[in-house]
């Protein structure tokens, strides 16, 4: 479906965003005596996105029409790779939790937890070995933490352990 209607959805979304962007530029004040102020570039971008999304919409509608009028349309184009939404959304959620708690809980604990869960999420059921993943996670997060903190002086948050 994304393949067939993707461009139409995308262009509609972009056209609406462009309008919102354009309207929001009205609040930008002119601070210099010049022909163009700080609102000029955002307005140009909004107009540009609007026009080119329009062209994209027109092209994709045309294409869709061409496909539909063609009798016996080979609707299924064969290669329709399965998207594993659970794994995808799970990964995004994991990353969000990781970043939200990074400061308060600390880099070491959060990174270990993140790596264990992310590996388990990505690995096949047959390969799931939590103990092994845990060891990998501990070693890598401790190594990253100490290398960056003491050798490269990147002050990673120590959180509750600090």
């Amino acid at each position: 479906m994304v393949k067939k209607y993707g461009d139409i959805y995308a262009s509609l979304f972009l056209m609406i965003s462009a309008v919102v962007l354009y309207i929001s530029t009205f609040s930008i004040k002119m601070l210099t005596v010049s022909k163009i102020g700080s609102a000029f570039a955002p307005q140009l971008v909004a107009i540009g996105i609007f026009i080119f999304s329009g062209i994209l919409l027109r092209n994709s509608l045309k294409e869709l029409k061409n496909k539909d009028t063609k009798e016996n349309s080979n609707a299924q184009e064969g290669d329709n790779p399965q998207i594993n939404y659970a794994c995808l959304l799970g990964s995004v959620a994991l990353m969000i939790v990781y970043l939200l708690l990074l400061n308060s809980v600390g880099f070491l604990i959060m990174t270990t937890g993140y790596i264990v869960l992310q590996i388990s999420l990505l690995a096949d059921k047959s390969e799931r070995n939590i103990l092994k993943f845990f060891i990998i996670a501990v070693i890598s997060s401790v190594a990253i933490y100490y290398i960056f903190r003491s050798i490269f002086h990147v002050m990673l948050p120590s959180g509750i352990l600090g």
Binding site: V2, G6, D7, A10, L14, L21, I28, K29, L31, T32, S34, K35, I36, G37, S38, F40, A41, P42, V45, G48, I49, F52, S53, I55, L56, N59, N66, K70, Q82, I83, N84, C87, L88, S91, V92, M95, I96, Y98, L99, L102, N103, Y114, I115, Q118, I119, L121, L122, A123, D124, E127, F133, I136, S140, I144, F148, F152, H153, V154, L156, P157
Partner: protein
């Protein structure tokens, strides 16, 4: 110039710098050969390591990563028909058939040697072109910079990906995101939504790491890595290449390297495009085009010399104009800025030692690359069996460190995630993310110089069209866009005609 280059060598001939180049090249090769990991990613996760280093040492490491990352892909391309990076897609066309004929050693030898030659040729061109170009560019004012930014923006939009409209849209997104934060000239805060952290705009590094590394991890999650336990069976023997055969490829090597350098110089595209164009050019000009794809060295020579020569080419606009030639150099732009160095024509004056240190590091990295590839070939193949479901989460953690380290704040990690998801969605809708990066970098250059120019001319736009260099660039811009529109119309017409038939 020679003295400066010698001084550059002297500055990197320290134990620390040499170890960094060696380490960088080794890591780069490993990233290059594992499919899904790229040179861009390698540079992204190693950037935070360079924070505390001297700029020359930091650049030495990054140059090693760059050269290694572009070269490493040739091993799986030849032995397993898996291009480790997009830069060596066409290496598989003839490399794998050669390996199947029992000539794996010879195919690898060819690749390594021509990679080296291509790399060195491009560095020579870089050293010869960049300084005079920078000297010329020092005289550029706002009119010229505006025109160059517009030229680069349209060029990348028309070259990246297969849809012109989507390329342009992606470029607009990039410009749009670059507008966040204080506006140039009058410092009016735009689109900060009350976040103080956004006053300075999005930092380039989280944007890049998100778009190129985090999105890759989401793609892997989506397809849920299927462990493909392949039994890699191959024998590597017979590295020798007869001298006569070697010199028979001279013209092919020169042509492919020239293609690589030229494509590298164009903003935004690099080895990934160069290798395919060079392969097609070699095939079209060959006396025996029908043999291409059956396992002849010509194809390998074209592909491998062009992708490595794109490296030096991509550094030309970065060093002389401050405009990155490909995604890795966009990352290097961020790396230089971290050290307080503004890439551009003045770099030769403000940090000439760093520039010549970069040149020297590139040459050394090429030599180290050859040694490693020859010596460690069998070991490198083993790296391919490290499962991605273990590698990717660790890389994510390193990305987080990279983003966090920019300003020591979690906000940039949020930006990293945002751009990762954005990159993923764009890829799903078949938008190339490269124009976005270029738009993000070039947008502010275009806007600042437009406003500066208009202030200089007191609101008159004509100098943008009458100053010879600016006018020249704008004219070429119009011409190249018109060409592309005409071409894509013709293609679409041909396609609809084919459907109607």
């Amino acid at each position: 110039m020679l003295e400066m280059l010698l001084a550059g060598f002297v500055s990197i001939f320290t134990f620390k710098s040499m170890s960094l180049i060696t380490l960088g090249t080794l890591l780069g090769i490993i990233f290059g050969l594992i499919p899904g990991l790229t040179a861009t990613m390698a540079v992204a996760i190693c950037l935070p390591i360079t924070y505390g280093m001297h700029p020359i040492e930091g650049m030495a490491l990054l140059m090693g990563l760059y050269i290694g990352g572009v070269s490493g892909g040739l091993i799986p391309a030849i032995l397993l028909k898996i291009p480790g990076t997009p830069s060596c897609i066409s290496t598989t066309f003839d490399g794998y058939p050669m390996a199947q004929k029992g000539e794996a050693g010879k195919a690898l030898s060819w690749s390594i040697i021509v990679s080296f030659i291509g790399g060195i040729l491009s560095i020579i061109v870089l050293i010869l072109i960049a300084p005079p170009l920078a000297k010329l560019a020092v005289k550029f004012g706002p009119y010229e910079y505006f025109a160059i930014a517009i030229f680069s923006l349209t060029l990348i939009a028309s070259l990246a990906g297969d849809s012109l409209v989507k390329g342009i849209l992606s470029g607009f997104f990039g410009v749009g995101f670059s507008l966040v934060g204080f506006a140039p000239i009058d410092a009016y805060p735009r689109f900060t939504f009350g976040f103080d952290e956004l006053d300075g705009g999005f930092n380039l590094l989280p944007v890049l790491i998100g778009l190129f590394a985090v999105s890759e991890i989401l793609l892997a999650a989506e397809s849920k890595y299927k462990s493909k336990k392949q039994n890699h069976s191959f024998s590597i023997s017979g590295y020798g290449i007869p001298l006569k055969e070697f010199f028979g490829q001279t013209w092919n090597m020169i042509r492919s390297s020239a293609i690589g350098i030229a494509i590298g110089i164009l903003p935004g595209i690099g080895g990934g495009t160069a290798n395919i164009i060079a392969y097609v050019a070699a095939k079209n000009q060959s006396k025996y085009p029908e043999k291409f794809g059956t396992g002849i060295p010509d194809g390998i020579v074209a592909s491998e010399s062009s992708n490595n020569s794109a490296t030096g080419g991509a550094l030309v606009p970065l060093i002389s104009l401050g405009i990155p030639g490909d995604t890795v150099t966009a990352m290097l732009l961020g790396g230089l800025m971290l050290h307080g160095l503004q890439p551009g024509p003045l770099l030769f004056q403000t940090a000439g030692d760093v520039v010549y240190g970069i040149f020297a590091s590139l040459i050394v990295a090429n030599v180290v690359m050859v040694i490693f590839l020859y010596a460690g070939m069998k070991w490198f193949v083993k790296c391919l069996s490290v499962p991605q479901h273990i590698l990717l989460p660790i890389i994510t953690a390193l990305c987080v460190v990279g983003a966090y380290g920019v300003n020591n704040r979690v906000f940039d990690v949020g930006a990293l995630l945002f751009f990762g998801i954005l990159g993923y969605i764009m890829m799903k809708f078949n938008f190339s993310v490269i124009p976005l990066v270029l738009g993000f970098i070039l947008g502010p250059i275009a806007e600042t110089n437009l406003r500066r120019g208009l202030m200089l001319s007191q609101g008159d736009f004509t100098p943008f069209l009458t100053e010879p260099i600016a006018a020249g660039f704008l004219l070429v811009t119009v011409f190249s866009v018109a060409m592309k529109v005409w071409k894509s119309r013709k293609q679409r017409k041909a396609a609809t005609d084919a459907i109607d038939m």
